[in-house]
């Protein structure tokens, strides 16, 4: 079997890997092992999901796998890329005079959230999806958009730069919770629809011997359950980091006065 890939995907991959390597070479610094692992994880995830057999099945109208690709692009690859980016690599870009104002605006949590929500909902809005995603032969552009909004989405949680502070832990939890709106708003109608929503998927047999309807329900469930479980894990991870951190931190901002309970005597005529 020939491992095929879409040109657009290859371009994105090349840009990512090339950029990473170029920065490392130019700045003559070496990312840590963990960063390298995270970054290669991201690349592997993209390669696995967007090229080869998976992509082949998507082109044969497997809606479920198409949803899986999207989840990888917005939920798996961006956090790994951010985790794999050292601060010295991000700094020259994000503190650049021309880029900084835009970057500051885009990485404001609410802006990032709305941008992601809007993009994600729009990509799945049937008229848009049918016109852009499928009639148009290039998939790569939609994928790139998803990867980009994914990166922006995760930035407030995983910012590699102290200059771009991360959200506080409680706010991170809130942010994750907020994410359920676009995800549910997109996934629930697809799953519960009474007919096939996207014209592109009405036709023909789908891979794995699924009927178009069954494929759609499966895809909807993958998105719904998949994001639910995934976000639950992210929420748990954030929560326990928060717990551990508060557990270890001494009281801030106050004199460490030892607890002094009241006297045993009943008299208060002091």
């Amino acid at each position: 079997m020939i491992w095929e890939a879409d040109p657009a995907t290859l371009i994105v991959l090349a840009l990512l890997v090339g950029g990473y390597a170029a920065f490392a070479l130019a700045l003559k610094r070496w990312p840590t092992v963990i960063q390298l692992i995270a970054f290669s994880g991201a690349i592997l995830a993209i390669v696995g999901a967007l090229t080869g057999p998976v992509d082949e099945l998507v082109k044969q109208r497997s809606f479920a796998l198409y949803i899986f690709q999207q989840l990888v692009l917005v939920f798996i690859a961006p956090p790994l890329i951010l985790a794999g980016t050292p601060d010295w690599m991000a700094r020259p870009v994000l503190t650049h005079r021309l880029i900084e104002p835009l970057a500051r605006f885009l990485t404001r949590p609410l802006v990032a959230y709305i941008l992601f929500g809007a993009a994600f909902a729009l990509v799945h809005f049937p008229p848009v999806c049918d016109r852009v995603c499928h009639v148009h032969p290039v998939y790569g552009d939609v994928d790139t958009v998803l990867l980009l909004v994914g990166l922006i989405l995760w930035f407030p949680l995983l910012s590699p730069l102290p200059e771009y502070p991360r959200l506080s832990y409680p706010m991170q939890v809130m942010y994750i919770f907020l994410l359920m709106i676009p995800m549910t708003a997109v996934a629930a109608p697809i799953t519960m629809a009474q007919s096939v929503v996207y014209i592109y998927y009405v036709e023909g047999p789908h891979p794995f011997g699924l009927s178009p309807m069954a494929d759609q329900v499966l895809g909807g469930i993958i998105m719904w359950v998949g994001q639910g479980v995934y976000l639950m894990f992210v929420f748990s991870a954030i929560f326990f980091r928060w717990a551990r951190r508060e557990d270890e931190t001494p009281p801030f901002n106050r004199r460490p006065v030892p607890l002094r309970p009241l006297p045993r005597q009943r008299s208060h005529a002091i």
């Binding site: 717990a243 009281p251 030892p258 309970p261 045993r264 208060h268």
Partner: protein, 818 residues
């Protein structure tokens, strides 16, 4: 909040002393309010218990005639309502919550003491409303979840369901108020150093509980308002004939109802997590995990309401979703049970009565939780729902769960509340009788359920396999009643002859045990600084993990503060009067005597305004409030935002009903009638009013009270114009087009949604005018600009709701719904 200087008499050491009856009626001390809640709840527990005994007696034999069908239906309904709303909730959040929150977080009182008293009085009058049927017309008889359309006037012509409807509405108001209060207290009034992960687990559980109350009750309120309208104004919210569906009630009810289940069980978890570590002599095992589990349970509880409705035919996708989310709850619940077990493991156990109740809770709750796993799976649920196995399940989690936790907490905290010890011997009698009788009564209900006995049947045929167990259960139910006799004896003995309790009789771990017993009215002479979880234990023994055998430091040092300098808020009669006003309104509605309604409303408004002006320096009651608060935020602002959050859910329920019913509506009227040009004009008016509001705030912040007042009046004026537009619009529809309120689904949903928004605008205008008067009389300045800001938040919220309504209702009027 309020802190008017009031001298504290040096001899007044206990919150229980002084004041007489009037003192109790006007009290705003959280500990006294707790006691009031406790006493009320115990009274209703006796009443609910009596109903349960009557119900059990009727079921003793097949074809029994002890109760008539009608009485039986009233008794089982009221038993459920009483135990849920008038016993477990007030005991857990009302009694333990009120008493313990300030003491455990190191505060002198709750954030809004008068609101606290108001919550109690409204609760009391709501409870009376719910039980008015004893005097007239019969108790509620539709089951505690009162499924529509059985509750419609046509099928339930008597006042029974009216008591249910109005009683729950009033109780809902009380619950939301106290939840708001506790939320702000816990968020903002913690002692210095008490970070989230140093809070006792009971505080965590109450925090999550009150969030659930704030965000779940609005849904019930909306459902009850619809029911009220159906019964009084002949609308069709649950009437099939108009295209509506009675299933809407089930959704609205269970969106509230499932979180409600956790509202009842989470504080129980909290109490157990306080009792078990103390008597195991160990810190709570896996504290972060326990907190996580509470949050996860609460979070999941919003996504599982459908598991009460598997039999209603929601379709396979909804069934699957709700089934899987419900099953997931098993994971955090398992975490909790094992963490309790491992807190016991390796401890130095002291088997006091409180500990025994807590241990029994763990096992019994496990049984209840495990049968819950069955009902989460629709294939099993379709055999078991509405059968006695469900009765067994919720009595295991609430009766043998929450009630046992309450009893554990009762034995644990009685010395702190009253200053006297209970008899351990009588306590053990109580425990063993209770464990035997509760289990023997409720465990066989599993078998009855398996043998197909439906719940809520007043009679049954012989030879169904049910005869023996029903007789067995009834006899054991009598033992349950008997088991409370040692408790009553114990209370009597303790209050008359009981040994005086010391500050720390159990060698406990948290801050409430560091204050004198019973606590003084001001709680803490000196507000403690917290450096670790289990703060009091650390103060006594040096570290959380210390074995507790040798004190590392002298735990008790003399207080260095002059307690007469402590400011505590003065008592107030207005909460009671406001409660009476609300009661009068409900009563007037019931007897249909509008003069009573208006008199009561006048009393309500009068007391509200009088209460607002009770403190002469309103607006800056406590200049140090912000500096002393935990987050550096003003409690009133936190409270306003929390209230707005709660309102959001209220409007979401109204809007979704509109969206759903718009497309199901029959008859001539539809959204085509809406007047876009007029509403566009109103939209601009409301947006402009918001601009004036922020300008007013900016002016007051500059200390420019002249322009501030002008802008405030302008805002109110624009609000009035908006209201005028709405009145014109409604009048036009009503008089010109003949679209009366209950013409069809569209008309009633439209009038209700837009009308409720208009009502909010009206409240806002009144508030603005009050602020404007304060401005005219020079009461507002830069320091007090927060009062304007809070009023503004409300006003902008009303604006934001209109932004949504304008688009969803007006501009999308031609779009097909759902």
């Amino acid at each position: 909040m309020a802190a008017q200087p009031r001298p504290i008499h040096a001899e007044q050491t206990s919150y229980l002393e002084g004041g007489g009856i009037y003192g109790w009626l006007t009290t705003i001390d959280h500990k006294r309010i707790a006691v009031l809640y406790g006493v009320t709840a115990v009274f209703f527990m006796a009443l609910g218990g009596f109903e349960a005994m009557a119900v059990r007696t009727q079921l003793m034999y097949p074809n029994n005639h002890f109760l008539s069908a009608q009485t039986y239906n009233q008794f089982f309904t009221t038993h459920g309502l009483t135990m849920i709303f008038l016993v477990i909730m007030p005991l857990e959040t009302g009694f333990f919550g009120n008493f313990l929150i300030p003491l455990q977080i190191g505060a002198r009182d709750v954030a809004f003491p008068r609101l606290n008293a108001l919550s109690y009085w409204i609760f009391l009058f709501g409870a009376i409303t719910l039980n008015l049927g004893w005097l007239y017309g019969g108790l509620p008889n539709g089951g505690w979840f009162g499924y529509a359309n059985l509750t419609e006037r046509y099928y339930s012509p008597g006042p029974n369901i009216d008591f249910f409807d109005l009683g729950l509405l009033v109780l809902g108001v009380s619950s939301v108020m106290s939840a708001l209060n506790f939320f702000v207290t816990i968020i903002n009034m913690r002692a210095p150093g008490m970070t989230f992960f140093r809070m006792p687990l009971f505080i965590w559980s109450i925090l999550v509980t009150v969030i659930l109350i704030l965000l779940a009750f609005p849904s019930l309120t909306v459902g009850l308002i619809f029911l009220f309208m159906d019964r009084y104004f002949d609308t069709h919210y649950y009437r099939v004939i108009a295209g509506a569906t009675p299933i809407l009630w089930q959704h609205l009810f269970w969106i509230f109802g499932h979180p409600e289940v956790y509202i009842m069980i989470l504080p129980a978890f909290g109490l157990i997590s306080e009792v078990i570590p103390v008597f195991s002599g160990k810190p709570l095992f896996g504290y972060p995990m326990m907190v996580y589990a509470i949050i996860a349970i609460a979070f999941l509880s919003y996504g599982v309401w459908g598991h009460h409705m598997f039999a209603t035919g929601m379709g396979p996708v909804a069934d699957m979703t709700f089934s899987v989310t419900s099953l997931l709850i098993a994971i955090p619940t398992g975490i909790k049970i094992f963490n309790w077990l491992f807190t016991v493991w390796g401890g130095r156990l002291r088997f006091t009565t409180a500990y025994l109740f807590a241990l029994a809770f763990v096992i019994q709750f496990t049984i209840g939780g495990l049968s819950g796993m069955m009902h989460a799976s629709p294939p099993i649920d379709l055999e078991q729902t509405d059968s006695y196995i469900i009765v067994a399940h919720f009595h295991y989690v609430l009766g043998l769960g929450a009630l046992f936790a309450i009893l554990a907490g009762f034995y644990f905290y009685w010395p702190k509340v009253t200053g006297r010890m209970l008899s351990e011997t009588l306590g053990k009698w109580h425990f063993w009788l209770a464990v035997w009788s509760f289990n023997a009564t409720f465990f066989p209900m599993h078998f009855l359920g398996e043998l197909g006995m439906p719940r809520r049947i007043y009679t049954y045929a012989p030879h169904m396999g049910w005869d023996f167990w029903n007789k067995w259960e009834t006899w054991n139910a009598y033992i349950i009643a008997l088991s409370f006799i040692p408790l009553l004896l114990n209370i009597y003995w303790s209050l008359t002859n009981g040994e005086r309790a010391t500050e720390d009789p159990w060698d406990a771990r948290t801050l409430e045990w560091s204050v004198p017993t019973p606590p003084p009215i001001y709680n803490f002479a000196e507000v403690p600084t917290v450096t670790a979880r289990d703060a009091f234990w650390v103060a006594k023994y040096g570290s959380v993990e210390a074995s507790g055998l040798t004190q590392s430091a002298p735990a008790i040092a003399p207080a260095l503060v002059d307690v007469s300098k402590i400011h505590i808020p003065a008592p107030s009669l207005y909460p009671l009067l406001m409660g009476l006003g609300i009661f009068g309104m409900a009563l007037g509605m019931l007897i249909g005597w509008y003069r009573v309604i208006f008199t009561a409303m006048a009393l309500l408004v009068f007391s509200a305004i009088a209460m607002a002006f009770e403190y002469p320096n309103w607006g800056e009651e406590n200049p140090h409030a912000v500096a002393e608060s935990f987050l550096g935020l003003d409690s009133r602002k936190v409270g306003m935002w929390s209230f707005i959050g709660s309102e959001t859910v209220f409007f979401a329920c109204l809007i979704s009903t509109y969206m759903v019913y718009k497309s199901r509506s029959l008859g001539v009227y539809d959204a085509g009638i809406l007047n876009i040009p007029l509403t566009s004009f109103s939209t601009f008016v409301l947006l402009t009013s918001s601009l004036l509001m922020v300008l007013a705030l900016a002016a007051f912040q500059r200390d420019d009270h002249k322009w501030g007042t002008i802008w405030l009046i302008g805002t109110a004026l624009f609000g009035c114009i908006f209201l005028g537009g709405q009145v014109y619009e409604f009048g036009d529809f009503w008089l010109e087009h003949g679209m009366v309120f209950n013409a069809n689904l569209f008309s009633q949903c439209f009038y209700t949604l837009v009308g409720f928004h208009g009502f909010h605008v009206f409240i806002g205008v009144v508030w603005l005018l009050v602020m404007a008067f304060a401005g005219i009389f020079g009461k507002l300045n830069a320091k007090r600009s927060l009062a304007v800001e809070i009023c503004g938040l409300y006003w902008h919220f009303v604006d934001i709701v209109w932004v949504v309504i304008f688009v969803l209702v007006y501009l999308m009027r031609t779009v097909k719904g759902a």
